[in-house]
Amino acid sequence: MSQQKIEIDIEDATGYHILRAVGDFDVYTVGTLRDSIGTMIEEGKTVVVVDLDEVPFMDSSGLGALMGGVRRLREAGGDLAIACTSEPHLKLFDITGFGEGVSIAPTVEEAAKGLRDGAGSR
């Protein structure tokens, strides 16, 4: 059966927070991702790097939720960057054009460098 659960951990880093997800980003799990980002915004954690290292599958629902997160964090004065090495995910960012407006890099540290200057209260 396809995986229908996702685990999300939030870690503090210098100047930003890391959202590490383990599981698939699809129609069944986007609610969890959306809620996690909502909670981070409520807690003032608006500068976020999402680590997709342990997300083997992402469909357009997952991409939508991720891009929704970008929009919401930016509206809250923060930003969202993505650490990702998965070819299919990178292809999805590329096809839809979302890769152009968001910092995407192979590692969390590199992705964090692309976060908007002055985003959040780093």
């Binding site: 059966m1 698939d24 469909d59 357009s60 939508g64 929704g68 929009r71 299919p88 152009e100």
Partner: protein, 525 residues
């Protein structure tokens, strides 16, 4: 406090058993009382009375025997006297044993003492003088001294008998009183038991039946669709709980009814969406489009539109991200704008700009729409398309002379960004030339993102392989067979809609310029 029916029944029968026990107790008490009276009267008073009677009678008989002896000198009468003396002693001993009260014992002592005085008088004075021949003296002594003693004995005897007679009378009275009391108590307890029995037998089941009847009425109304039945029962037992559960059941039924309404609304939405999508496709010379759609839910985010005007066949495929009603509404927005603008003769780029604008205004925070807007000159085979963040079209060509061998590849070109998100998503256009027999396959990401149980996606590579392998399959069957492959891969569990448009270019001899050029991509930005 809630009490189970079982305990109510047990309690009722317990009460009955208690009343039966009380009845038994009252009966035993009554018999005890009768036995006590019987003891007082028959075991004590009557024997006492008899003893006293015998004592008095004995002394009177002694006096009579002695008197007879003095008159007749008959020695038998002296023996009779002696016999009566022994009888008196026996009865005196018996009376002493029987009498217990101090007064009675004192009276008995007096009686015995008087009796002894009498016997002494008889033995020492009367019989002794008679034996000496002084009968007259003996007679006188018996009359003067003996008669008063006998009278005293009789008085004492009467006194003792009066006590015993009073005791017997009191016993009778007590017996009568006790019997009446016992009778009244028995009567009251019996009536109480009967009343409780009636209560248990009639009222308890009566209330139970009445409550159950109300529940039956309520369930009938519920069966008719009235879910506002409120049955107030405060019996404190399972029936009250049943009434409460009935309320919960009605709440559940109401929720189900709401869901059914929503399902119906969803079916209407699905019907509207199907009508929007499945309009009969226009006939165009030189080219034909075969649509295929497999929705994961009643409504979905995939959509397509085909139009023909002049020499241009327009084929658009779109996909609103997400699933369900939200995605369906976004699809409807895109489709409506597209058709409206196209009917006004608006060009592809302007149509896309308008659609982007409308979707940006309507789109939720995490929803976007991708599409490929493709136009074919049905005479020349020139194809132009604009890709807005959508998977690339696939070109399937028949290379062999026999028309059986095929090859296929993705038509890569500049890709613009998805709609509903960016102010300027880009509008780069790609141009290629089709040859007769070429087939353009447009599809949505449901094919690429179909997920195997291992979380592996079907992906571009498998799709390309599948299309190439099926190149000999007719356009009308191609989509269906590919869907079967995808379903097999996903173990039958498809989470996203699958939409595929196969456009086959035949070429037209009526082409104004007669072009059927080789497919060759060029890009205009």
């Amino acid at each position: 406090m809630r009490m189970s029916l079982r305990w109510k029944i047990v309690g009722g029968y317990g009460l009955l058993l208690m009343l039966i026990a009380v009845l038994g107790w009252v009966t035993l008490t009554m018999f005890g009382s009768l036995r006590s009276v019987q003891r007082d009267v028959f075991d004590e008073a009557i024997p006492q009375l008899e003893a006293v009677n015998e004592i008095v009678r004995s002394y009177t008989a002694q006096s009579a025997a002695v008197r007879g002896f003095l008159i007749s000198s008959n020695a038998e009468l002296l023996q009779q006297y002696s016999s009566e003396v022994a009888t008196a002693r026996t009865w005196q001993a018996e009376a002493k044993r029987l009498l217990s009260s101090r007064r009675d014992r004192r009276l008995l002592q007096d009686l015995v003492a008087t009796g002894q005085s009498f016997q002494r008088l008889i033995n020492e004075e009367v019989i002794a003088r008679a034996r000496k021949g002084k009968r007259t003296q003996a007679f006188r002594i018996l009359g003067q001294d003996g008669a008063p003693l006998i009278s005293e004995i009789e008085v004492l005897g009467n006194l003792l008998q009066t006590v015993q007679k009073d005791k017997v009378a009191a016993g009778e009275s007590e017996l009568q009183q006790n019997s009446s009391d016992a009778l009244v108590t028995l009567l009251l307890v019996t009536i109480g038991a009967l009343l409780i029995g009636v209560l248990l037998a009639v009222l308890l089941p009566g209330r139970l039946v009445a409550n159950i009847s109300r529940l039956v009425e309520a369930t009938r109304a519920i069966g008719r669709g009235d879910f506002d039945q409120r049955v107030e029962i405060h019996s404190g037992d399972e029936v009250e709980e049943l009434a409460e559960r009935l309320d919960e059941m009605q709440d559940g039924l109401k929720r189900l009814r709401t869901l059914a309404y929503q399902e119906r609304e969803l079916e209407i939405a699905a019907s509207i969406q199907q009508n929007l999508l499945q309009r009969s496709l226009p006939d165009a010379p030189g080219a034909k489009v075969w649509p295929l759609q497999r929705q994961a839910n009643l409504v979905g985010g995939d959509w397509y539109d085909v139009g023909f005007s002049g020499k241009t066949l327009t084929v658009v495929i779109g996909d609103a991200s997400g699933k369900g009603v939200g995605a369906a509404l976004m699809a409807t927005v895109a489709l409506t704008v597209l058709r409206a603008e196209r009917s006004l003769g608006t060009g592809p780029k302007r149509v896309i700009e308008k659609a982007n604008q409308a979707l940006k205004e309507a789109t939720a925070q995490d929803s976007f729409t991708t599409l490929v807007y493709l136009t074919i000159d049905v005479y020349s085979g020139e194809v132009r398309w604009i890709n807005m963040g959508h998977p690339s079209p696939f070109l399937l060509q028949c290379d062999g002379d026999d028309g059986q061998t095929g090859r296929g590849y993705y038509l890569e070109g500049p890709r613009n960004r998805a709609l509903g998100w960016f102010d300027d998503p880009g509008l780069a256009e790609t141009v290629i030339q089709l040859r007769p027999g070429d087939r353009l396959v447009l599809f949505t990401d449901g094919f690429l993102e179909a997920k195997a149980p291992s979380s592996e996606a079907f992906g571009e590579h498998r799709l390309a392989q599948g299309l190439s392998r099926l190149s000999r399959v007719g356009s009308s069957e191609l989509g269906e067979q590919l869907v079967q492959e995808v379903e097999l891969f996903a173990a039958g569990k498809l989470d996203d809609d699958l939409t595929m448009l196969v456009t086959e270019f035949y070429g037209s001899e009526a082409s104004p310029d007669g072009r059927t050029g080789v497919a060759e991509a060029s890009t205009e930005v």
